[in-house]
């Protein structure tokens, strides 16, 4: 017992950080019966664990903000001529956010899937099939609304198929979405006849060029999707169930959650995000083609991971994922303004992913040990 209190102390040492954040996972209690890890639910009495848990993600997000600041400082040091001009700085921040917008929207969906214990390797392919389908000559005749409708519905349907295969077909998510990656890109190539389909619709194209109060419309879309994702994850039963299903599907099922249907909905949600992203990317590139959004699945997974989402599920934050996406966009921007090669940029990105996962493991060592002990003590 003495050991247990010892390990619990560091988690509870920052009550000023921990207490306000504690309210977010606990207060929407309706689905409380399905809390992620059964061990957690049983020891929630003292309050030390949940507050430590929440403080952990806040600490991690602060760490990511620190990385972001460091990247900007490197930018200021290496290109003082550019950063000396305030107009340029403003434009550059917007440029970074715009660069992050499409992957950001995809990452919100990906974060839900990963928290729910799955993985979606087909997001890039879904963006491509939705983009291509919505820019065919026949679809473009329906105007901007028809194109957006097509992209969103096609992407959601593909997500639903993923979900059906995984939840009712009992395929491993990795395999099902890998198959979809190949198949959706194939269908996109078939529909587009391997050509780049130019979007002649000015309303669609203006989504990427319009600014409101100096902020690009794409950034507003990203903000709206992130806000919706945050509310859905933290303030609804759907979000709580996602955490429960990802943390321990068997416990979630015993707690009365329809795990299969929930998994199905998670992949449909990821598809929906891809549909929105497809409209944004089509607007940005003024075109769509089967090879578009190449390797977005890796970008989205990497962003979610460095944002603190556990690949094994049951844990993650939307804000962390957003910070992850913005960090990658800032690195791209930093390398571009310094005229450095893409190869060096990719090496740095890889290094950051590894570093983030290493930090994640160190941070979680104490917590997981605690879980293990809790299980033992509650049995005895």
């Amino acid at each position: 017992m003495s050991e247990r209190t010892e390990t619990a102390v560091p988690a509870g040492t920052a009550p000023s950080e921990g207490l306000p954040a504690q309210s977010s996972p606990v207060s929407p209690a309706p689905a409380g019966a399905g809390h992620g890890d059964p061990g957690v639910g049983k020891t929630s009495g003292p309050g030390g664990l949940w507050s430590g848990d929440a403080a952990e993600s806040i600490r991690r997000n602060l760490g990511l903000v620190g990385v972001l600041v460091a990247l900007i400082v490197i930018g200021v040091i290496t290109r003082p001529d550019l950063y000396g001009n305030m107009n340029w700085v403003g434009d550059n921040i917007m440029s970074i956010l715009t660069l992050a917008s499409v992957v950001g929207v995809v990452t919100v969906g990906m974060t839900f899937v990963i928290i729910g214990g799955g993985i979606d390797l087909s997001v890039g392919a879904i963006v491509a099939i939705a983009g291509v389908w919505s820019t065919t000559v026949a679809t473009q005749k329906f105007g901007a609304a028809g194109m957006i409708f097509t992209a969103v519905v096609v992407a959601t349907c593909v997500g639903l198929i993923n979900g059906l295969l995984i939840s009712y077909g009992r395929l491993v998510p990795f395999i099902a979405t890998l198959a979809m990656l190949v198949a959706a890109r194939g269908l996109a190539a078939e529909i587009s006849d391997k050509q780049t389909q130019v979007s002649g619709n000015e309303t669609i194209n203006s989504i990427a060029s319009n600014r409101i109060l100096g902020i690009p419309l794409l950034v507003y879309i990203l903000a709206a999707v992130v806000a919706a994702g945050w509310v859905l994850l933290n303030r609804t039963t759907f979000g709580r169930r996602t955490v429960a299903v990802g943390g321990n599907p068997e416990a979630a099922r015993l707690a009365g959650i329809n795990v299969k249907r929930h998994t199905l909905l998670l992949y449909a949600l990821s598809g929906l995000c891809c549909g929105i992203a497809a409209v944004m990317l089509t607007a940005q590139a003024n075109s769509a083609q089967a090879a578009m959004a190449n390797l977005y699945e890796l970008d989205a997974i990497a962003a979610a991971i460095i944002g603190g989402t556990l690949l094994s599920g049951g844990r993650g934050t939307i804000i962390g994922s957003l910070l992850g996406v913005i960090i990658f966009a800032t690195i791209t921007n930093l390398f571009a303004i310094n005229g450095l090669s893409t190869e060096a940029q990719n090496m740095v990105k890889g290094g950051i992913i590894v570093a983030a996962v290493l930090v994640q493991q160190f941070r979680f060592k104490s917590v997981t040990q605690l879980f293990a002990r809790n299980r033992l003590t509650s049995k005895s």
């Binding site: 096609v154 590139a285 310094n338």
Partner: protein
């Protein structure tokens, strides 16, 4: 779907399912109608019609079987290669065209090619995934008595092909560099800031293009200030261009290697409201040539790398199989190597080249 959440009343679910199902069927019916790409004008400017009065070689001769293989990459240029080859073969009454899928990489292309060889075509036209990796196949087919026409990606071994017809990547860079150099000199800009958006950096052709560009600019005393590598797609072109435009708040000229990714590059320029520089494209797509003719964007020129070479390869393969030469040359047989010149398309000559755009 028999399993349902015990916390929810069943009646509610069934009504919702009915609504959702109805909406899904409606959307499905609407969407399946939306995959059509009919209505796009087809242009067949990239083939040479058989006209036996102008060219005696066009007169039907011995029946020949031409085997063809090209990677089905998701790119306008590669797609145009396959289309052109097919269209050109159709124009000859004495040609039987046998196309085999090239699969996803060099290994699968080699596998499908061996089935092609067993069908004993008179000649094989081949755009390899990688010239080095398929060199052995070229040697093998040539040894078996089937002439191989290598399209664009050279075999290192001279015995591996009967004819090699390819574009000039280094020359493309040189043409782009020369156009930019001359324009800058004409404008009296002594130290121009020049940007470059390359294609996939791991490909040899991208390195050759950049090397030619750099070398030609050096003859003017100019250099590339910032270079970003995109991936031959419009969305990566847009992303890289948006960052290049941030890095160079003032720019005088830019070369973009590929007109397909150029759609995205031009979109990024429009989104950033920039017009302080001139841009040169690459490859010569129809959209780019039209934009140059219209002269309403920063795109002022493009340097060609035309997929019409596939049509020429089929014509020449037919002549090789029939043992005929090129009618304008003295030689009785088709030469062994042809490298297309990279031409510069500007507003002045855009109308001449528009039929070659893909």
């Amino acid at each position: 779907m028999t399993q349902h959440d015990p916390l929810r009343p069943v009646r509610d679910l069934s009504r919702r399912r009915l609504l959702l199902g109805g909406a899904a069927v409606g959307a499905g019916a609407l969407l399946t109608a939306c995959t059509s790409n009919e209505g796009e004008p087809e242009d067949n400017g990239q083939v040479k019609a058989a006209d036996s009065s102008a060219n005696p070689n066009s007169a039907p001769g011995k029946k020949v079987v031409i085997g063809f293989s090209s990677p089905a990459a998701d790119h306008g240029w590669t797609a145009a290669i396959t289309k052109n080859a097919e269209a050109q073969a159709k124009l000859y009454t004495d040609v039987e065209f046998k196309s085999v899928a090239a699969g996803a990489d060099a290994a699968s292309q080699r596998a499908t090619l061996s089935t092609l060889v067993s069908q004993k075509p008179d000649v094989i036209v081949l755009l390899p995934w990688d010239g080095k990796e398929l060199n052995a196949f070229g040697l093998e087919a040539m040894a078996a008595g089937i002439p191989v026409v290598n399209l664009d990606r050279a075999f290192p071994d001279a015995l591996a092909y009967r004819l090699q017809i390819k574009g000039d990547n280094y020359g493309m860079g040189v043409s782009a560099g020369r156009y930019i150099g001359e324009q800058m000199k004409a404008k009296g800009i002594a130290n121009p800031i020049i940007g470059e958006i390359a294609g996939m950096d791991e490909l040899e052709l991208t390195q050759e293009r950049s090397a030619g560009f750099k070398a030609e600019l050096a003859t003017f005393g100019f250099k590339v200030e910032n270079r970003r590598a995109a991936r031959f797609t419009a969305d990566t072109g847009q992303a890289e261009a948006s960052q290049l435009l941030r890095a160079l708040p003032k720019m005088d000229a830019m070369w973009n290697h590929d007109d397909d990714q150029g759609i995205g590059v031009l979109a990024a320029i429009k989104q950033a409201s920039r017009s302080d520089f001139i841009m040169v494209g690459g490859a010569g797509s129809k959209a780019a040539i039209d934009a140059i003719a219209a002269d309403n964007s920063v795109l002022k020129a493009t340097v060609t790398y035309s997929p019409s070479m596939a049509s020429s390869a089929i014509s020449l393969a037919r002549l090789i199989a029939q043992g005929r030469g090129m009618s304008d040359l003295v030689e009785l047989q088709v030469p062994k190597e042809i490298t297309l010149a990279s031409e510069t398309i500007t507003k002045e000559n855009a109308s001449t080249y528009s039929k070659l755009g893909f």
